[in-house]
């Protein structure tokens, strides 16, 4: 239903969105390690510090089938609805679009009637997705000028191959509108998708096709540098491939894209998970250079030496624990970059006021392959490590969970990840501290993955005005 004035959670600019009221609820994708008989779920977490249930799960919405592997998800509409050239400001931010990365089934969840107890209102079956868009394995999604843009890792042919790409879903009817690309150029692998609305530019990154990732990280493919290492720049409105930047063969797994939120800035950050020479992770900056896009490495995070006895089989030969930076997040003021080191168990905070020269200003250790760092409110060692990270719109609160992707979890934490979600407080000066009141333990075989905050967060919206 159309509203009379814009949805109150839409803000013209990131600056204004930072004034939004603090979130009281968080939604968390929960995958189940029993993929045969127990469905995944969407969890609702109480994040209101004034509430007696603070830091606990309020409700759990089970999916209709088992084995979806819920992963990333997002809103049907957001602040981009206020964009001047394609306005649709009277749509509500109401539905969560929740794809199953393994099943290719997409769930439409209505949060309006009772935000703490959302309901499934529609399910898009994999056959429909394949028939309408010829894609499978839906991954990242963003609300944008033409509806909901979703990246997909695989083709719709059912063979686990590529190309992966982007498709569109209507933000009101939730019909799959079809493949987004008109000319994909050399792009074949797919992972993340986002854009610079001020530059009419879409950006996509690369992981691998379903058959390269679903059985776990394949060491042969990795050492052969076959996983994604390229970034693609597209004309957002003509839907054509414009430019490819190759990080170089030693960089593997070019994943999360975090463009500056301010549409007058034309830069952003991306993480490359592993460097084959020394197992380090790196953060790359893309920026305008003349009439083209350019990229350069701005952060190197080294592997830490480790006793092989403490390492899982896949790492024993290296005698080191890689940082495995698998997620990053940029605050709405484009000043702070949060970096999840899933291998070493560290959450880092960088000041990126000068994007070419990031400064490390804060760090918290939790979990880790070797470190197993503890939380003040939890008994015993923690495993898994900081992974999917989300920052509140005002930039003061940082939430994250500790699982990556089921089959990859088992390779790096073979004893089985015990999943948790925590919250950190981010001080205005750059520090980072653990909120001792917030330690959420997932049980019943559930593992927490992406977090979305009520009303929007630092990776849910895009803006057309500075």
């Amino acid at each position: 239903m159309a509203t009379w004035i814009p949805d109150p959670s839409f803000y013209p600019s990131p600056r204004m969105a930072m004034q939004a009221p603090p979130e009281r609820l968080a939604y968390v994708a929960m995958l189940n390690t029993d993929t045969i008989s127990r469905p995944d779920a969407l969890g609702v977490v109480d994040v209101d510090p004034g509430s007696s249930g603070y830091g606990r799960i309020i409700s759990r919405l089970d999916m209709p089938n088992a084995g979806d592997e819920l992963h990333h998800f997002g809103w049907n509409a957001c602040s981009s609805a206020l964009c001047p050239y394609a306005p649709h400001p009277h749509v509500e931010r109401r539905y969560l679009i929740v794809p199953g990365l393994r099943s290719s089934r997409i769930h439409i969840v209505d949060t309006k009637a009772d935000p703490a107890h959302p309901k499934i209102v529609k399910v898009i079956e994999p056959e429909q997705l394949a028939a309408r868009a010829n894609y499978s394995r839906p991954h990242t999604l963003h609300c944008g000028p033409e509806g909901i843009y979703v990246s997909a890792l695989g083709n719709g042919g059912g063979n686990g191959g590529g190309p992966g790409g982007v498709f569109l879903i209507d933000h009101e009817t939730f019909d799959v509108l079809g493949q987004w690309e008109i000319d994909r150029g050399p792009q074949f692998l797919s992972y993340d998708v986002w854009w610079h609305l001020g530059q009419d530019t879409m950006i996509t990154s690369e992981w691998g096709t379903p058959d390269m990732i679903e059985d776990g990280l394949n060491p042969e493919l990795l050492l052969g540098a076959k996983y994604g290492r390229r970034v693609h720049f597209w004309d957002l409105h003509r839907r054509r491939h414009r430019q490819t930047i190759d990080l170089g063969p030693e960089y593997q797994l070019a994943l999360e894209l975090r463009p500056a939120h301010d549409p007058t800035k034309a830069h952003g950050f991306m993480n490359a998970v592993v460097n084959l020479k020394d197992l380090s992770s790196s953060i790359w900056l893309w920026h305008r250079d003349g009439g083209q896009w350019a990229m350069r490495k701005v952060i190197d995070i080294p592997a830490e030496p480790a006793d092989p006895d403490q390492l899982p089989p896949i790492l024993k030969g290296f005698k080191a624990v890689p940082p495995l930076v698998t997620d990053i997040d940029l605050s709405l003021d484009d000043r702070w970059l949060y970096v999840s080191c899933w291998g070493t168990g560290e959450m880092q905070r960088y000041d990126v006021s000068d994007p070419f020269r990031p400064k490390l200003t804060g760090s918290v250790r939790l979990g880790g392959i070797v470190g197993r760092s503890r939380h003040p409110s939890a008994e015993g060692d923690l495993n898994g490590g900081p992974q999917m990270v989300e920052v509140s719109r005002d930039g003061k609160r940082v939430y994250f969970t500790n699982s990556l992707y089921r089959s990859w979890d088992e390779q790096f934490y073979p004893e089985g990840i015990k999943s948790w979600m925590v919250k950190l407080d981010a001080s205005p000066e750059g520090g980072l501290s653990i909120d001792e009141r917030f330690f959420l333990r997932f049980d019943d075989g559930f593992r927490g993955h992406q977090i979305r905050l009520e009303g929007g967060d630092a990776s849910s919206d895009s803006y057309c005005y500075p």
Binding site: Y85, E146, H237
Partner: protein, 222 residues
């Protein structure tokens, strides 16, 4: 309706179209903010007004051609049907259109964008009732000015319509341009975009209502 009232109504519709953020002033403000200068707002206004006027012109030309070959008593019911039909379509279909123009566009892109936006919203259609009241008298006036001459009447009537139609387009465009300039500059300079959060009422609903209401009103008009 008297002649003066019709021109006033035309100006009023131009102002109404101009106030709608989706018709262009917001786009102009976005360019101003993107480049950080008022000149960018001002520079975006002419192509926006031009594209809008071209869309209205298409309706005026189509109407004139239909009018020349249609029996006068069919014209009104046809207009009513078009207005109510398009208003209903707007209500049901809303804003689903392929995006073709973004923040890096220039004069031609902005003109095209404004043309498409005005056409999709039925900006020209809203003027149909006024055309109904203004073009036929203009034909008569042209005929009376030229005196009798049977073989010339078709051409003269068409010329009369064309002159009046052009005047309609220009007056509407001028009113729209003045309003987008005032609103755009005031929002850019002083008010700020926070106004959008509460002030951007659902013009789509208002437009659909206006189209349908005009259609119904026309039914009862003499």
């Amino acid at each position: 309706m008297s002649d003066a009232w019709q021109w006033l109504a035309l100006i009023g519709l131009g102002a109404f179209h101009g106030v709608n953020p989706a018709m262009g002033w917001l786009f102009a403000v976005a360019f101003g903010l993107q480049e950080g200068r008022r000149g960018a707002v001002v520079k975006a206004l002419p192509p926006i007004a031009l594209g809008h006027a071209l869309s209205v012109l298409v309706v005026v030309i189509s109407f004139t051609m239909v009018q020349l070959v249609t029996a006068p008593d069919l014209l009104k019911p046809a207009t009513v049907a078009v207005l109510i039909g398009f208003g209903g379509y707007r209500l049901v279909r809303g804003h689903r259109h392929r995006v073709r123009v973004g923040m890096r566009t220039g004069f031609a892109g902005l003109t095209l964008w404004s043309f498409l936006m005005a056409s999709a919203h039925g900006a020209g259609l809203m003027i149909l009732p006024l055309l109904l009241g203004m073009l036929a008298p203009a034909q008569l006036m042209a005929l009376s000015l030229c005196g009798p001459g049977a073989e010339m009447t078709g051409t003269i009537a068409a010329l009369g319509s064309a002159a009046a139609g052009l005047a309609v387009v220009l007056v509407h465009m001028a009113a729209m341009l003045v309003v987008i300039a005032i609103v755009g500059l005031v929002v850019f300079e002083t008010v700020g975009l926070g106004i959008l959060r509460r002030g951007w009422v659902n013009f789509d609903l208002v437009w659909a209502g206006a189209l349908i209401g005009t259609g119904i009103g026309l039914l009862f008009l003499r």
